[in-house]
C-alpha cells in the first residue's frame, strides 16, 4: 500500500527579551526560585493592565519576515479562554483572526545531487503569552500539584506550517534550520532543555488502496515534542501506527467518532500514546482583549527590517556550494555552526582567495581549537584577516600547508601562554592578538618560506650529492628510497625548500 505522509508543525518559540510580553517582570528561566518573577499583570490580579513589550513585537516581525511571511498592517489581541492551574487569568492573551503575519514559505532540501527542493508554506506566525509551569506529584500518592508562575507571560511566538511536509526527516530538517535561523536572528536562544523551542506535530497519511481509491487516516496531534530526534521518531512511529490502525479498523478521516485525536510521545517506550481528550477543547470562546490596543505596522518599518535580515541557513548553504564550490558536507558543517562562524569562514575565504583551503582550516583546525578551548568564534584569537593572510601564503606558494598548520598552532600556543601568564599576574597585554608580524617572525625563525632560488638549491644539491656517495650509488642501483637521505640534507641546508622541487632536481641530476 502506497502511503503519503501529511505532516504539519506548530512551533512555539520563547523570545529573547529582557522582560515579559505584557509586564516588566524578568524573562528568565529560573525554576530554582519559583514564583519570584511575577507581578499583578502576569498573575492576573484584578485591575492590572497589560502593555505590549515593543521588543517582543520587533523580534516577531523579524522572524516572520525571515520566514517569508506577509506582515499584516493591522493586528489585534484576543483572549483564548480555558481553565488550567498554570493560567492564572483563566485566559491566554493570543491572536486569533488577525495575526500579525501570514502566508510565508521556506525551502527544504535540494542540496544533494538529485534531491528536488520542497516548499513548505507557513500558514501564520502570531504572538502570545506563555503559561506558567505545573509540577505534578511523581510519588503516585496523588499529592498536590505545584504551580510556578515565573514563566507566565513569557513572549511566545507560535509558527504554524501548512501540512506540506512529506516525511519525518523533512520535519526534522525544517526544525533544525528554524533553530539556526532563530539563533542567527538573535530572536531566541532555542534552548530545548529549557523549553525555549517546543513543537507539536499534526500527522496523518493518505493511502493508495488496492482497489484504486484513496483513503486518509484521522489526524493526530502529537503534543510537546522537545527534541529534534523526538520529533522525527514520534512522527515515524505515528505514521506506522496509523497505517496499521487503518488496516485493522478501516477508519478514515471524517468518519463519525474519528475526530482529531491528541497523543503524547514517550521517548523511553518509543511510542505515541492516547491522551485524555480535552473536553470540548476547541471551545476557547475567543474574543478581542479590551485591555490591549491593536498594533499597526507601517510598510516602511517592514522594509527597514527586511533590509537588515541575515541570509537564511538553507540559502547560505546553497550559495556556499555554488559560489565557493564547497562540498555539501563542508557547507553544512560551516553553516550549522551559526552565522558568526559562517561569516568568519567567508572572510577567511575572501582574504586568502582559496575557499576550499579556508573550509578545510575552519572545519578542522578552527573548530577543533574552539571546542578544545570552549570558545565561541567571536573569542577566537586568530582574526579572519590573520588566518586569511596565513592561507594566502599557501595559495601563493609562499609556504606549504604543513607549515601553515605549524604556524597556526604556534600562534595559538603563544597566545595561550600569554593568557596564562596574565592569569598568574604577569604584566602582559592579553588584548594583543596574534598578527601578521608574528606570522612573519615564525616563518623567518623556522625557515619555512618555500625557497624558489634555484641557484641556492642547485648548490646545496651538488654539495649533498658530493657528500653522499653511498646513497648515490644505492639510488643508481635502483633503491628509490635512497633519494630521501640526499633530499633530507638539502632540506637541512635550505630551510623552506619545497621537497617536491628538490626531488625533481635530484632525479634530473642523477638521470
Amino acid at each position: 500500500m502506497n502511503a503519503t505522509p501529511i505532516i504539519g508543525l506548530e512551533v512555539h518559540v520563547q523570545l529573547l527579551t529582557r522582560t515579559k510580553i505584557f509586564c516588566g517582570c524578568p524573562n528568565r528561566f529560573n525554576p530554582d526560585q519559583p514564583n519570584t518573577q511575577t507581578c499583578p499583570v502576569c498573575l492576573g490580579l484584578p485591575g492590572a493592565l497589560p502593555v505590549l513589550n515593543e521588543e517582543a513585537f520587533r523580534l516577531s516581525l523579524r522572524t516572520a519576515l525571515a520566514l517569508g511571511c506577509r506582515i499584516a498592517p493591522f493586528t489585534k489581541w484576543d483572549r483564548k479562554q480555558y481553565y488550567y492551574p498554570d493560567l492564572p487569568k483563566g485566559y491566554q492573551i493570543s491572536q486569533y483572526d488577525l495575526p500579525f503575519s501570514h502566508d510565508g514559505v521556506v525551502e527544504i532540501g535540494g542540496e544533494t545531487e538529485g534531491d528536488v527542493p520542497r516548499r513548505l508554506r507557513i500558514r501564520r506566525a502570531h504572538l502570545e503569552e506563555d503559561a506558567g509551569k505545573n509540577l505534578h506529584d511523581e510519588s503516585g500518592r496523588g499529592g498536590d500539584s505545584r504551580v510556578d508562575l515565573n514563566r507566565a507571560g513569557t513572549p511566545l511566538l507560535e509558527i504554524v506550517t501548512e501540512p506540506d511536509l512529506g516525511s519525518a526527516a523533512d520535519a526534522r530538517a525544517f526544525l533544525e534550520d528554524l533553530r539556526l535561523l532563530l539563533t542567527d536572528l538573535e530572536v531566541s536562544d532555542c534552548n530545548m532543555q529549557e523549553g525555549s523551542l517546543r513543537c507539536d506535530a499534526n500527522v496523518n497519511v493518505r493511502l493508495a488502496l488496492d482497489d484504486g481509491g484513496t483513503a486518509t487516516t484521522p489526524i493526530v496531534e502529537i503534543k510537546n515534542l522537545n527534541t529534534f530526534s523526538g520529533v522525527e521518531a514520534a512522527i515515524e512511529h505515528e505514521l506506522a501506527r496509523q497505517i496499521a490502525e487503518f488496516q485493522r479498523t478501516g477508519r478514515r478521516f471524517g468518519d463519525p467518532g474519528a475526530e482529531k485525536e491528541t497523543r503524547g510521545w514517550s521517548a523511553e517506550r518509543n511510542e505515541t500514546f492516547a491522551q485524555r481528550g480535552k473536553e470540548e477543547a476547541s471551545d476557547y470562546r475567543y474574543f478581542p482583549d479590551p485591555d490591549l490596543a491593536p498594533v499597526t505596522v507601517a510598510a516602511e518599518e517592514v522594509a527597514r527590517i527586511q533590509e537588515r535580515l541575515c541570509e537564511p541557513p538553507g540559502a547560505r548553504r546553497r550559495r556556499f556550494a555554488g559560489e565557493h564550490q564547497l562540498s555539501e558536507y563542508d557547507a553544512r558543517v560551516i553553516v550549522s555552526q551559526g552565522r558568526q562562524f559562517a561569516d568568519y569562514f567567508e572572510a577567511v575565504a575572501r582574504a586568502c582567495g582559496d575557499a576550499k583551503q579556508a573550509a578545510n582550516f575552519v572545519t578542522q583546525d578552527v573548530l577543533r581549537e574552539l571546542n578544545a578551548r570552549g570558545l565561541g568564534i567571536r573569542e577566537f584569537p586568530l582574526t579572519s584577516d590573520v588566518l586569511g593572510g596565513l592561507l594566502a601564503r599557501v595559495a601563493q606558494g609562499g609556504i606549504t600547508v604543513k607549515s601553515a598548520r605549524e604556524i597556526f598552532g604556534e600562534l595559538l600556543a603563544a597566545w595561550s601562554a600569554r593568557a596564562e601568564a596574565a592569569e598568574d599576574g604577569a604584566d602582559v597585554d592579553v588584548g594583543e592578538l596574534p598578527g601578521e608580524a608574528a606570522i612573519e617572525r615564525i616563518i623567518a625563525e623556522r625557515g619555512l618560506a618555500i625557497v624558489n632560488d634555484e641557484g641556492a638549491l642547485e648548490a646545496a644539491l651538488a654539495a649533498a650529492i658530493a657528500d653522499s656517495p653511498r646513497a648515490v650509488e644505492d639510488f643508481r642501483a635502483g633503491k628509490q628510497q635512497a633519494a630521501g637521505a640526499i633530499i633530507g640534507k638539502v632540506m637541512k641546508q635550505v630551510k623552506g625548500a619545497d621537497p617536491k622541487r628538490v626531488r625533481e632536481l635530484l632525479l634530473k641530476k642523477l638521470a
Binding site: 514564583n35 513585537f57 479590551p290
Partner: protein, 99 residues
C-alpha cells in the same frame, strides 16, 4: 443570534466556566439569559453591512512599553492570596493529565 439558548447550552457554558449548577438554576438562568440575549438582539435591527468590525472600543493603536524591567512582587506577596501554598509554590488539587 442564530443559536437558540437551550438549557443544554447553559449547562455547557457553565461547564466551560467550571460552574456547577443545580437543575433549578439551569432553568432559572436559561430564562434570564434568554432575556439578556433578546435585549441585545435589538441591535440586529441596525444594518451593519458596510460597517467594519470593531477591533477595539478606543481609537488607540500601538500602545507599547520599552523592554525594561520593572519591580514586581516578592514571592511572599505573590502567594499571599493563594488558598494553599507550600511557601514556594501555589498548591492545587492533583492534575491528572498528560502522563
Amino acid at each position: 443570534m442564530s443559536e437558540r439558548l437551550t438549557p443544554q447550552l447553559v449547562e455547557r457554558v457553565a461547564r466551560l466556566a467550571r460552574l456547577k449548577l443545580a437543575p433549578d438554576e439551569v432553568e432559572r438562568f436559561t430564562g434570564q439569559l434568554q432575556q439578556v440575549l433578546k435585549y441585545v438582539a435589538q441591535l440586529d435591527a441596525v444594518d451593519s453591512r458596510d460597517v467594519e468590525p470593531l477591533a477595539h472600543p478606543l481609537e488607540l493603536t500601538n500602545v507599547l512599553r520599552a523592554d525594561e524591567p520593572a519591580p514586581g512582587l516578592s514571592r511572599e506577596a505573590a502567594l499571599a492570596n493563594a488558598p494553599r501554598t507550600d511557601g514556594r509554590y501555589f498548591l492545587v488539587p492533583p492534575i491528572l493529565d498528560e502522563k
